[in-house]
């Protein structure tokens, strides 16, 4: 129950930051960071894959409600939820240790978390920006925006994670 509350609080906080602050950030008209996929990233390993998909759908849909873009964020977030277990496997390179319960820096180490989170962010931004323009004529423009936004989102996500879940001192 405690865990449930923690995840719910994180959900509300991330959506709030995304909608109230980050959606108003635009540097040069190109950079637009999205940090809400962090919510999907931090869900526990034990969560069944189908539930992950439903939560991804709900998260994306909530964002869409705020941004009046029906389906856009939903599609991108469901994709992130779908590929998450595969990315976990790729980032680990080996079966997960028995003790691992959640994909956090404290449990998995910062190098692991970096490759894990950046992979998911790239997939999310690719889906989001390509679906949004949905026009081969603007492909180069979309790719330019993806290349600029990914580092921004990633830096913000790492800052949040380091601030709220610092790595354990060894």
């Amino acid at each position: 129950m405690n865990n449930f509350l923690r995840h719910s609080f994180r959900f509300v906080a991330l959506i709030f930051i995304q909608v109230m602050v980050l959606n108003h950030i635009r540097i040069g008209g190109y950079v637009n960071p999205f940090i809400y996929p962090l919510f999907i990233m931090l869900l526990p390993f034990s969560m069944p894959h189908w539930l992950l998909l439903f939560i991804g759908f709900g998260t994306g849909f909530t964002l869409d409600l705020f941004m009046s873009t029906p389906g856009l964020h939903t599609a991108a977030t469901v994709l992130v939820a779908f590929v998450r277990p595969y990315i976990v496997r790729l980032a680990s390179g080996a079966p997960l240790p028995e003790s691992a319960s959640a994909p956090t820096i404290a449990e998995m180490g910062s190098r692991w978390f970096l490759s894990y989170s950046i992979s998911l962010i790239i997939i999310h931004h690719l889906a989001l920006f390509l679906l949004e323009s949905f026009d081969p004529a603007h492909l180069s423009d979309s790719i330019y925006r993806i290349l600029l936004s990914v580092p921004f989102s990633e830096i913000l996500i790492l800052m949040l994670v380091y601030f709220f879940q610092p790595p354990r001192k060894r």
Binding site: G29, W50, L53, F54, D64, F66, T74, A75, E132, H138
Partner: protein, 272 residues
């Protein structure tokens, strides 16, 4: 039958993923019918409450800027009243007043970084706003209303794939079509300029009045640079928008009182 159940059991995650993506993409592509997208935003009470909260906080930060803008606009209008012989004649002033009404509204949400950007306003059909009305900012043209609910209206800004407005070069009266091709939100583009037309940097563009959305002579932008095509046929010009879309806060919705009359007249012409 058993095989089918086994298949579903084996691939239930993939099937669920495909199902959810199909739902999402269906929403995405159906929302190109703009009403749906408008209804989607307006009917979500939760996001409405959030946006109002956000507005009431951020409005304070922009008070000075908004004041300045309104003061400048006032000064400009006063000047026009004094110096414009057409406007100061009583008859024509009444005429312009009865054709175009301006409904002031505030921007509740606005984007500039997508390929298709929307402006949400805090007034709806309760205040007389209808679909297909023009939106202007104190600086120039801003967009077109595409959907209204009781208290809100949504418009596509100039920064949208489907927004193209009819403009006129102020110095020589030539017509052109202004659109936005993505990228930098400060610049739009005019295509298909015949080669004989002389276009200089800094030339002013105003609305042509052909579309009935905007009154004639509203500032749209200035020529930033002129691009001659290689094959020497039709040239392009890059236009700096008069409106700063990133700072859009106070706008006016243009209500053309003669629009339905004009539209039905044009319809008749098509029928015959």
């Amino acid at each position: 039958m058993i095989n089918l159940i086994r298949f579903i059991q084996k691939h239930h995650v993939l099937l669920l993923f495909l199902l959810l993506e199909i739902i999402a993409l269906n929403m995405l592509f159906r929302s190109n019918a703009y009403h749906r997208s408008a209804a989607f935003t307006m009917n979500s009470t939760v996001s409405g409450v959030f946006y109002r909260m956000h507005k009431s906080i951020t409005d304070y930060f922009y008070l000075q800027q908004t004041n300045e803008q309104l003061a400048q606009e006032n000064a400009y209008l006063r000047q026009q009243l004094q110096h414009n012989p057409v406007l100061s004649e009583k008859d024509s002033m009444i005429l312009t007043d009865t054709v175009f009404h301006y409904i002031p509204a505030r921007v509740v949400s606005n984007n500039v970084h997508f390929r298709n950007n929307y402006i949400v306003l805090n007034k709806g059909y309760k205040s007389g706003i209808e679909k297909d009305m023009g939106i202007i900012s104190p600086e120039g043209v801003a967009g077109i209303i595409i959907g209204v609910s009781k208290n809100y209206a949504i418009g596509m800004s100039m920064l949208h794939k489907f927004t193209a407005i009819s403009v006129r070069f102020k110095n020589n009266g030539n017509l052109a079509n202004l659109s936005w091709q993505g990228g930098d939100y400060r610049f739009g583009i005019i295509d298909h300029i015949p080669t004989h037309l002389v276009v200089n940097k800094g030339d002013t563009l105003i609305t042509s009045g052909n579309s009935h959305l905007f009154p004639e002579g509203i500032l749209v932008g200035t020529v930033e640079n002129y691009i001659t095509s290689d094959d020497g046929a039709l040239n392009q010009a890059r236009i700096r928008f008069a409106t700063d879309f990133n700072r859009l806060r106070q706008v006016y919705v243009v209500d053309n009182k003669h629009r339905s009359e004009l539209d039905s007249l044009l319809m008749n012409r098509v029928d015959e």
